[in-house]
Amino acid sequence: MLANLLPNVEWDMIWAATVETLYMTGVAVVATFILGTILGLLLFLTSKGNLWENRLANMIIAAIVNIFRSIPFIILIILLIPFTKLLVGTILGANAALPALIIGAAPFYARMVEIALREIDKGVIEAAKAMGASTATIIWKVLLPESLPALVSGITVTAIALVGYTAMAGVVGAGGLGNLAYLEGFQRSHNDVTFVATVLVLVIVFVIQFIGDFVTSKIDKR
């Protein structure tokens, strides 16, 4: 019955593409979380009135973040081809998509981290200082835990954007559901393949949103 409705769908191919999408998204999310958090912390700490206040450093980091955040993703992939080739050895396959995915998403997430950190009551940071906390203690025990719900909901939004990015990267040869929908679905006019790929992308997005919302509500004690 399913085979009749979806005559061109080869399930093992779909499965392989889904795993690729999940792999690209997963690795990119983890790397984006780490890199974006570091960048966001630097943006926050070097801004006016904060622990490492430094106008020049802040301007430089902000400029980098803004530039990479503004480049359309599809163009970023093309711009990064030489870099990717150097780093991964090829520009095809899931791993080849990772540099562009991470470099595209980390600045986006860094801004969200910065906003989350700015939401923290200055008084709490001051209280920690008054207790004799070092900067490292303030980062690990005040800034990150106090902004955690916002960090999690931010990474949820970023992860969903990354699913979209992997589909775009797929068109350029990175594999995954986007690649499948384009090559097998669009180019060979197999609409059923495009349809199944789309549904799967949607399912992935919904699951990410659900997990993100669940975790955020669990850790938010405000």
């Binding site: 001051e126 209280a127 920690a128 008054a130 207790m131 004799g132 070092s134 106090e146």
Partner: protein, 344 residues
């Protein structure tokens, strides 16, 4: 012995709009174990002053010595160590909402590197001390303002500090909760011999718990002394206004005007008692010794940390000379007298 010494301390902020002198050549000595209050209106520089005491701000010039340490010139590890011996509580409590009561109180102990087992014991002691048994695992969002400040106090005391700094610690609380927090502070001061510096804009707070008070205006200390002494003889205009906050209720002025109309004959006098004088049968003595009638119109006695302080309005009738002699007699009893009728 002096726990805190400030010598010619000035703090100037450089802002875009120009420089602001928040603390202006302040010299101050605070003794070990006393409760010292600093009162002033908003913008007087109180917070700036108290923040100098734990090095959250560095003075532009002058010396800040707290518990034998030169707070203006120490940095890094030494400064962090010094801060562990100076507790601080805040108007808005500044608790970490991501931590429970227990974890919030444990935070300064974590900073001090106290091992987990000892930490737990100490937190339990502190929870007892501030009366939060049963709420250990609540989050700050589940507590009332008074309970939050108790957590703040427990947290500030965790590392056995020598000094406790209170920046408007009761300003966000209702009068009843304010009183319970003030009582807790007095209790801690007595039990632990802790030196407490508190800043406020409410004379009520000073009256209730302070031994000495400094009045701050435009960055300067304009008056300081024993609380009772300042209540008895406020010198500066601003101090008089603060004293009035507690001894003269709003409606007094109206009442007095009304009384003057009601008693066109004789004299209405205002008596100000302090300490022991407040407990003598003064009016009875006056009536017995002089040919005058004395009628108490209105009175209020406030209890300060050091003794009673009271204001009494009395209507006196009789021969002019006799009334004058009675007033002289009252003055000799260490009671300040102000004749109201004549001022009208």
């Amino acid at each position: 012995m002096c726990m805190i010494t400030l010598e010619n301390v000035t703090k100037i902020y450089e802002a875009a709009s120009g420089s602001i002198t928040a603390v202006d050549n302040v010299s101050l000595q605070i003794k070990e174990g006393e409760i010292f209050g600093i009162i002033g209106y908003s913008g007087a520089g109180k917070s700036s002053l108290i923040r100098l005491l734990n090095g959250l701000e560095k003075p532009t010039s002058g010396k800040v010595i707290v518990a034998g340490r030169d707070m203006a010139n120490i940095k890094g590890k030494e400064l962090r160590k010094a801060r562990q011996e100076i507790g601080m509580i805040f108007q808005h409590f500044n608790l970490l909402w991501s931590r429970t009561v227990h974890e919030n109180i444990a935070f300064p102990l974590e900073i001090a590197g106290i091992p987990k087992e000892t930490r737990k014991k100490r937190v339990d002691e502190l929870i007892q001390l501030v009366g939060l048994q049963g709420r250990e695992h609540a989050y700050p969002s589940q507590l009332s303002g008074g309970q939050k400040q108790r957590v703040g106090i427990a947290r500030a005391l965790a590392n056995n500090p020598k000094v406790l700094l209170c920046d408007e610690a009761t300003s966000a609380l209702d009068p009843q909760t304010t009183d319970s927090i003030l009582e807790l502070l007095v209790d801690i001061n007595k039990r632990l011999g802790l030196t407490i510096v508190l800043i406020t804009h409410e004379m009520h707070v000073i009256r209730k718990i302070c031994d000495r008070v400094a009045v701050m205006e435009n960055g300067k200390i304009v008056e300081q002394g024993e609380v009772l002494q300042v209540f008895r003889q406020p010198k500066q205009e601003i101090t008089k206004r603060f004293v009035q906050q507690v001894v003269e209720p709003e409606e007094t002025k109206e009442t007095i005007t009304h009384l003057l109309d009601k008693y066109p004959n004789g004299t209405v006098i205002q008596l100000t008692f302090v300490g022991e004088a407040a407990e003598q049968p003064l009016i009875a003595n006056v009536v017995r010794q002089f040919q005058v009638d004395a009628n108490i119109l209105q009175g209020k006695i406030s209890q300060t940390h050091q003794g009673a302080y009271g204001v009494l309005f009395v209507h006196m009738d009789g021969e002019k000379e006799e009334v004058a002699r009675a007033i002289d007699y009252i003055r000799q009893q260490q009671v300040a007298v102000e004749v109201i009728t004549d001022a009208r």
